[in-house]
Assembly symmetry: C2
Homo-oligomer: 133 residues x 2
């Protein structure tokens, strides 16, 4: 699928096992940033979090986000994506986090959560990018 | 030197050739994030930018920053540092960016800039951290 926002030259970074460092903004203007696994469907970026995490709370209040990604095969290529939350989607049966565990760890099931963690899929609409390399 | 803010268990990430993804806030509330090389003296974190870059402009107006760092040897260990700019320091003779080129590329001189780039050292005071792994 053609993507209007992410430059063709850097789409490969979104297809790899790269990490997206997700920056969000807290209620008192404090910045938060942490690395996540993600999926990309050619238009939207999807990552997983739990309802207990700071980035979930931040994004519920302010849907703006910036993602910073290095090419895992060449750290002098990177992609930054600014965007916003398009949708919060319940991760029923943890199917999405299991899909990411398959992509990143080649495992059938995500091995880390406790049973109490309520997983949510964050669907991000890219609005603007910058790049290097 | 003892560091009160960064946990002992994760100081090693700051000693490695890791990348810090630097999140800053723009004048209209837009988030910016991009990877940088850095130096750490046991208390402060230092990275280089130029006066033309968005993150320099953002930090001049709002000194809050969040740094997200993966352990290059184990992506399931990470460190997040929230802090603020302590000082903007002119990089006279490009000595600091050359020091980083030595650390990251084992080169005597930084090979990328044009002669017009005015390099600035951003000195960051860590205020709060979170970690995984």
């Amino acid at each position: 699928m053609a993507n209007q926002i992410v430059p063709e030259s850097h789409l490969d970074i979104l297809r790899k096992r790269s990490f997206a460092h997700v920056a969000t903004l807290g209620p008192n203007g404090e910045l938060h940033s942490s690395p996540v696994w993600f999926d990309f469907d050619g238009e939207f970026i999807y990552f997983s979090t739990t309802k207990a995490r700071q980035k979930y709370k931040n994004l519920k209040a302010n849907k703006k986000v910036a993602l910073s990604l290095l090419d895992p095969d060449n750290p002098y290529r990177y992609l930054e994506i600014r965007g916003e939350v398009e949708q919060f989607i319940p991760d029923e049966g943890n199917k999405f986090i299991d899909k990411l565990a398959k992509k990143y760890l080649s495992l059938e099931h995500y091995p880390f959560d406790s049973v109490d963690d309520e997983r949510v899929i964050i669907k991000i609409k890219p609005l603007k990018t910058s790049k290097m390399g």
